[in-house]
Symmetry: C2
DNA sequence: CGAATTGTTTGACAACAATCCAACTATACG
DNA sequence: CGTATAGTTGGATTGTTGTCAAACAATTCG
């Protein structure tokens, strides 16, 4: 089992995290990881509507930003959200993003 | 006094807000607005180290993303954070970003 | 009106980013 | 070993972004 290079917790940069989360495809991947926990790249990237190599680039962006942790087991790579690290570094940020991303539009006062 | 075109609250998109906040210059502008409240473009853009036209583009990006509200009075334009709109749309998000952006690095256990 | 102030627009350019395709690597399985 | 599986890498392309400089627009003030 090997770990790929990741930024340490204290080296996670806010602007890089925000940029990583600002792409709809990557945000969808993050939502899946938040919902279902650790999963392989293939599962995380299923039905995203992009080529597998494109998805692979997104995995790398998320990893290098410090959003996900990737470890290899055999020929599979498992990704998971770095929930604790992000909470330590930027309290409340990931939860706010996930809430915002998954919550239905608030029923406005028919305005 | 005129208002410039802005997205309505329900049309503010999460990914666009995250993208707007993912640039260091724009994030700095947002921090200034959060700290000092409404201010003119000139004040908000003072000492940012970029040309005024560059700053102007950033104002537009922030406005079109729904992060700031801009109103014109005379020859001045006042910008302010759309705190309430953002809180309605994405509860806790702006606060988390501002906390993350302004908080000093947590003193790690000398690790 | 003419000059100063405040900010935007346009054009140019370089850097970056998203995408696809094809080739590749590495592991696992017969 | 040969094949399948899982994912990455490199090239090419296309589009977006950040930046500056110069010109412009709008308001105010003398």
């Amino acid at each position: 089992m090997r770990l790929l290079p990741h930024p340490s917790t204290e080296n996670i940069q806010l602007t890089e995290v925000l940029r990583a989360l600002s792409d709809p495809i990557r945000l969808e991947i993050v939502i899946r990881l938040a919902t279902a926990g650790e999963m392989t790249c293939t599962v995380a990237g299923d039905d995203l509507g992009v080529h597998k190599s494109t998805a692979s680039h997104h995995y790398r962006t998320l990893r290098e930003a410090g959003v996900v942790l990737t470890k290899q087991e055999g020929r599979l790579k498992y990704m998971s959200l770095r929930r604790d690290d992000l909470e330590t570094r930027f309290p409340g940020l990931l939860d706010a993003v996930l809430t915002a991303a998954t919550r239905p539009l608030p029923a406005e006062a028919h305005a």
